[in-house]
């Protein structure tokens, strides 16, 4: 079934158009484009194999929960996907392009494990969030008014607009996590990669945070890859059984066919309205 087929409210033309693009993207499975593809990826560190022959595909609008014990290679796998580590064997493709030739890094938002920044670092929340825009495409360009507007939107979407001028090191762990998510979201990424976003923050904040990303998965065109330790939260949303296992890694997957409420590209604006 096509994702747009039940969309009674949208204009017929738009439905047709979206159905057509969706059909065009129907490459191997389901209704969506392939976002990440790992094939036969291996990596070892000091002759200790960390990843062995891992193959996995992430389709557009999947929510993938990556679970594994310590040292199972979860972070290594994520670092490989975002190009920080090269696989010793096998290959990684992003949006259908081999990772070595991939250029559209602005499509990918990456929130690393509790960022190891220096707490005294002199930077405000706004400066940190804006830095999400400083990619290859922004080289030799100034920060525009539009950029500042996007930063304000991202702050509002994550309900940290009143923290904009605070020093990043002065915030609590949960607030910092929101700042880094805002930084990842400011580019309107298609793929959001989160490495243990829930560790080190209190239970209530964890639940709010998880609720927020579930909402983003269901209502917006974002694909998620999340590493987590919290089995209960992962199972509650992604089901009891992993879709695939590879070595000590388990991949829990939930695909969303829910409608995208937001027709435009202004994700953050719509998120804000959702409240």
């Amino acid at each position: 079934m096509n994702a747009t087929a039940t969309d009674a409210t949208s204009a017929a033309g738009a439905t047709e158009m979206r159905a057509a693009t969706a059909a065009a993207k129907t490459a191997q499975a389901g209704c969506h484009q392939e976002i990440v593809s790992l094939s036969g990826v291996s990596f070892s560190y000091d002759n200790q194999p960390i990843l062995q022959d891992v193959s996995f595909r992430i389709m557009e609008r999947d929510f993938v929960g990556l679970i594994g014990s310590n040292g199972a290679g979860k972070t290594t796998l994520l670092r490989m996907i975002v190009g920080l580590t090269r696989p010793q064997k096998g290959s990684v493709s992003l949006f259908g392009t081999p990772a070595a030739q991939f250029k559209d890094w602005n499509l990918i938002g990456y929130v690393p494990q509790r960022s190891h920044f220096n707490p005294l670092f002199p930077a405000t929340v706004k400066e940190v969030v804006l830095s999400g825009l400083y990619g290859r495409k922004k080289l030799f360009r100034r920060i525009s008014k539009e950029d500042v507007g996007r930063c304000d939107d991202a702050l509002k979407a994550l309900k940290i607009e009143d923290l904009g001028d605070k020093r990043i090191g002065a915030l609590s762990g949960g607030q910092q996590q929101r700042v880094f998510l805002a930084r990842a979201l400011i580019n309107n990424p298609k793929l959001l990669i989160l490495d243990e976003p829930l560790t080190g923050i209190d239970i209530e904040t964890q639940q709010n945070f998880f609720h927020m990303i579930k909402h983003m998965h269901q209502r917006h065109n974002i694909t998620f890859l999340m590493v987590s330790h919290d089995m209960d939260m992962v199972r509650s949303y992604l089901g009891e059984e992993p879709k695939e296992r590879s070595g000590k890694l388990s991949f829990y997957v939930r695909h969303s066919h829910d409608l995208e409420d937001c027709q435009g590209t202004d994700l953050l604006h719509s998120l804000r309205k959702e409240g």
């Binding site: 602005n106 002199p122 930077a123 605070k166 020093r167």
Partner: protein, 267 residues
């Protein structure tokens, strides 16, 4: 006031004012990347280059610069070989530099007097060539930092995020290495190899204590650098003291005041 009309002192003020912009500015990035000791290391290697320059009769600052650039690549290379042990690579290269300098100085015993001026600085002996070199270094450093201020911020705040957003990391790392080597070699004649590190790191330490934003930090390091260098030169000139010493002691005094004032604000 006679001092101000003396040409050697004017040159000292100009050279000092220029280096007080670039050294603290670059130092801020270095300190935040946990490479505070890099200035010290490059300065010691640079001295080996200066010794070689004196020995073969080539402009010593230029040879020192080449040595410093080579050393900064050596540091980057070792830093990769020993990830998370950045300070190890600095210690190794620094001892190598001192060893080489001491060898070269024993070969050319005749110029040891001149060598002292590079260890401790001799701002009053700056000639016009030195001033032009310092001016050139300032222009290069300032324009690179201004052109790339966004990217340098991201690189300094979160190196992984910078790599993931597709920035050419090699280019930026090499650029920072070369800029650091430039500033250190230019600063040696002013504050001396033993004290270069102070001009790079102490203003940054002050700004860590006081600033809330990166923008504030950038402005603050330059203001503190200028204040300490100009006042330090003036005091040294009037009281006939070693200028490198007065500048660094003033910097430390400012740092103590910064830390004390943040304590007062927080309590």
């Amino acid at each position: 006031m006679e001092l101000l009309s003396a040409e050697f002192f004017q040159r000292a003020l100009i050279g000092g004012a220029l280096i007080a912009i670039t050294a603290p500015l670059l130092g801020l990035f270095l300190v935040l990347r946990r490479l505070a000791m890099i200035g010290d290391t490059l300065a010691h290697v640079s001295i080996a280059g200066v010794a070689l320059g004196l020995l073969i009769n080539v402009y010593p600052v230029a040879v020192g610069l080449l040595f410093a650039i080579a050393a900064s690549f050596g540091i980057e290379w070792l830093r990769k070989a020993y990830r998370t042990y950045a300070e190890l690579s600095l210690a190794i290269i620094m001892s190598g530099g001192i060893a080489l300098a001491s060898l070269l100085f024993t070969i050319g015993k005749s110029f040891s007097q001149n060598a002292n001026s590079f260890w401790f600085g001799s701002i009053y002996t700056l000639d016009y060539t030195d001033i032009y070199v310092i001016l050139g270094v300032t222009v290069v450093v300032l324009s690179m930092v201004l052109i790339h201020k966004k990217e340098l911020f991201l690189l300094t705040f979160d190196e992984d995020a910078a790599a993931v957003s597709g920035l050419p990391m090699k280019y930026f790392n090499i650029m920072l290495s070369i800029l650091t080597a430039l500033v250190v070699s230019a600063a040696i004649k002013i504050v001396g190899a033993l004290l270069v590190s102070a001009l790079l790191t102490i203003p940054a330490a002050c700004s860590l204590a006081l600033s809330r934003s990166f923008k504030q930090a950038v402005i603050l390091v330059v203001v503190i650098g200028e204040a300490a260098v100009l006042a330090g030169l003036w005091i040294a000139g009037v009281a006939n003291l070693a200028p490198g010493g007065t500048v660094v002691l003033l910097l430390i005094a400012i740092l103590v005041m910064c830390i004390a004032s943040t304590r007062l604000i927080r309590t």
